[in-house]
């Protein structure tokens, strides 16, 4: 792949994306328009995240990609290969080893550090989109801090279902200013949005980038009498026994049999290895 620049995008384009990232870091939660490029994978497959990763990667980086929490889901494999090929960077499946992590739909269970960057793939960056389809209107609502519509929606959920009926892409308020879509992560992951690492969000088709600098205050929207509840399946992981991780439900037969396993495959493997190590030590 000598025909393409390091990490595929040309330097001019990367500079344009880095400017958008810096602006996003300066105004946490604000959606910065950027001139998204057509990438060699389809819109909806993570082109926003891929462009952000391409703009922040350096040859010394170690890159990890997860989709649904796992490193070996097909699209994660495809994106990881893309950067192996176009940037020649080291890749890893271990959360702790990675300097840049691109993710779709999950935040790793293991806490991220200050020297790490996590890049989210975002399909619809606008948290107000399904309340107001027009971009011209939603931008106005953000600039006027007019979020009443969102609270009415959450209230109506409670009136109708007794619960807030949003289980993923649960809206948050950033530093008391912008309402932000955390991308379609399960609401279980929302509390992790306050972290030590830099968080970058890329929406390719919608041409938006936004960011959360380390230690940014991120509050999931709720009501005093209906506090936010980051729920998960009430089971331990069937493989590693973790009770604190987000679980996938796997159907095992056609008679209603199912098991619950960690969605974060690296976390699960790490725990299994640690347990095996401890056992070996005991035996010794």
């Amino acid at each position: 792949m000598t025909d393409y620049n390091f990490a595929y995008l040309d330097e001019q384009t990367k500079r344009m994306i880095r400017r958008a990232i810096l602006k996003g870091m300066a105004i946490p939660g604000y959606q910065v328009p950027f001139a998204s490029r057509e990438m060699p994978m389809p819109y909806g497959w993570g082109t926003g995240g891929v462009q952000v990763s391409a703009a922040v990667l350096t040859p010394e980086d170690c890159f990890k990609v997860i989709d649904q929490g796992a490193d070996d889901t097909t699209n994660a494999v495809s994106i990881r290969r893309f950067f192996e090929k176009t940037a020649g960077v080291a890749v890893t499946e271990r959360t702790a080893e990675a300097s840049v992590i691109q993710t779709r739909h999950r935040i790793p269970e293991e806490a991220l550090r200050e020297d790490q960057i996590i890049v989210y793939q975002v399909p619809i960056p606008e948290p107000l989109r399904f309340l107001e389809p027009r971009e011209t209107e939603t931008r106005k609502m953000h600039s006027l801090e007019e979020y009443g519509l969102m609270h009415v929606k959450l209230y109506e959920d409670i009136a109708q279902h007794g619960n807030i009926a949003t289980a993923y892409a649960y809206p948050v308020k950033v530093e008391g200013r912008y309402v932000m879509d955390p991308s379609p992560i399960p609401k279980f992951d929302n509390p992790k949005l306050e972290m030590d690492a830099i968080q970058l969000f890329g929406a390719g088709r919608e041409q938006r980038i936004y960011a959360l600098p380390p230690h940014t205050k991120v509050v999931s929207l709720d009501f005093e009498d209906h506090p936010f509840d980051p729920s998960k399946a009430d089971h331990p992981c069937a493989i590693c026994g973790a009770e604190d991780s987000y679980l996938d439900e796997v159907i095992t037969d056609d008679a209603g049999g199912r098991m619950f396993v960690c969605s974060d495959t690296d976390y699960c493997r790490g725990r299994v290895e640690a347990a095996a190590g401890a056992k070996a030590e005991d035996a010794a």
Binding site: D10, P33, P42, G44, A165, P186, R205, V250, M259
Partner: protein, 368 residues
């Protein structure tokens, strides 16, 4: 036991190999050459060039071959290639009045300077399957050609403009924005709208244009003129101090003459819609002109009927088939984390509702 998502890497490799095999089809059948596609599937090539926003018939033919004839996939390949190309500069505006027309028809005048040239059109063919073609016969006889009128062919709208019967197009010397280098921001100016329309999906624009004809923001369009032909591409070379012709492209231009509009100060005048598309792409150019005209309602002081074709944000946000197909098809990707969270939620809500119902059904018994 737990194997659901394992083996992604191998599955991808195998899928790609199978795809390559399917693309080739039966190896007993001779392989298509790019030249065959370029010459014999020229209208497909044109569509890929126009919606791919890259004028290169050979690359478009390659994309069609690689995509097994899926034109949106081919357009995507071209777009993804195009975006990696450096931008050297902008050419001078093309002069369609100087076009070497191979087709030029006006629906508003029976005859006119420059003449009507029917050209290579399907318009008056009878749509009967030609089984002779299945026999792969010899090349057709060359068509007799009338003496082409060399030199500029004036635009029909200019004749109307001379008498003030049609609105004048305001000259705008501003550098038009570039949709491929800056994010689309709304409201857009007309140059940006036209740019978006010319690379928009043919089917989407056709449907919108058709809706205007059926009364959703009807704008009474006549095809003032439709012309197809080659135009020169000229570029200013700063070192030389003058413009140099660097090539030639074929384009289709459609100018519609639409329902008139007057005001207290201005007597009624016809208005215009405009379409310009790479290659021989008539359906698209006419559709574009109708949609362009419908989008101009505000500027022309017309009523907003709430029709889809009048809604700039709706039209421009959904015209791009590469964006549309990507987002549509991405729902094939795994979503089990999100689905799991919905499962938890719906189970919780149902459990609460069932508990409530159970309590309700007990209450009357307790009262007895």
């Amino acid at each position: 036991m737990y194997v659901a998502v394992k083996g992604g890497e191998k599955a991808i490799d195998n899928a790609h190999a199978w795809l390559a095999e399917e693309r080739r089809g039966d190896p007993q059948v001779p392989e298509l050459s790019l030249a065959q596609i370029r010459e014999q599937m020229a209208l497909a090539v044109n569509r890929v060039m126009s919606e791919g926003s890259l004028y290169d018939p050979d690359l478009a033919a390659l994309a069609i071959k690689q995509s097994r004839g899926d034109l949106i996939e081919a357009i995507f390949l071209i777009r993804a290639y195009r975006t990696t190309l450096p931008r050297f500069g902008a050419t001078r505006p093309i002069e369609t009045g100087e076009m070497r027309c191979e087709r030029r028809v006006s629906a508003t005048f029976k005859d006119l300077p420059g003449g009507q040239i029917l050209g290579p059109t399907f318009d008056y063919t009878h749509r009967l399957l030609d089984f002779k073609l299945a026999a792969e016969g010899e090349a057709p006889q060359p068509a007799e050609e009338a003496e082409g009128s060399a030199g500029p062919v004036p635009h029909v709208t200019e004749f109307l403009n001379r008498d003030g019967l049609i609105e004048s197009e305001a000259r705008d010397e501003a550098v038009p924005p570039d949709l491929t280098r800056a994010p689309l921001e709304l409201p857009a100016n007309r140059a940006l709208r036209l740019q978006s329309l010319t690379r928009g999906d043919e089917g989407f624009l056709l449907g919108l244009a058709y809706s205007t004809q059926r009364g959703y923001a009807r704008n009474h369009a006549f095809v003032g003129e439709l012309r197809i032909g080659a135009v020169a591409i000229e570029m200013d070379i700063p070192e030389l101090g003058f413009a140099v012709e660097i090539g030639e492209i074929t384009v289709t231009e459609c100018e519609t003459v639409n329902q008139f509009k007057g005001s207290k100060t201005e007597p009624p005048q016809f208005t215009r819609g405009y379409g310009l598309v790479f290659g021989q792409t008539e359906r698209k150019a006419i559709s574009m002109a109708l949609v362009d005209r419908a989008l101009r309602w505000r500027e022309l002081g017309e009523e907003n009927q709430g029709a889809p074709a009048q809604d700039e944000e709706f039209v421009l946000s959904h015209a791009d088939n590469i964006q549309a197909t990507g987002f549509l098809e991405h729902i094939k990707l795994p979503h089990y984390v999100d689905f799991q969270s919905e499962l938890e939620l719906i189970r919780k809500i149902r459990a609460e509702a069932e508990a409530y119902q159970a309590a309700q059904s007990k209450t009357p018994e307790a009262a007895e």
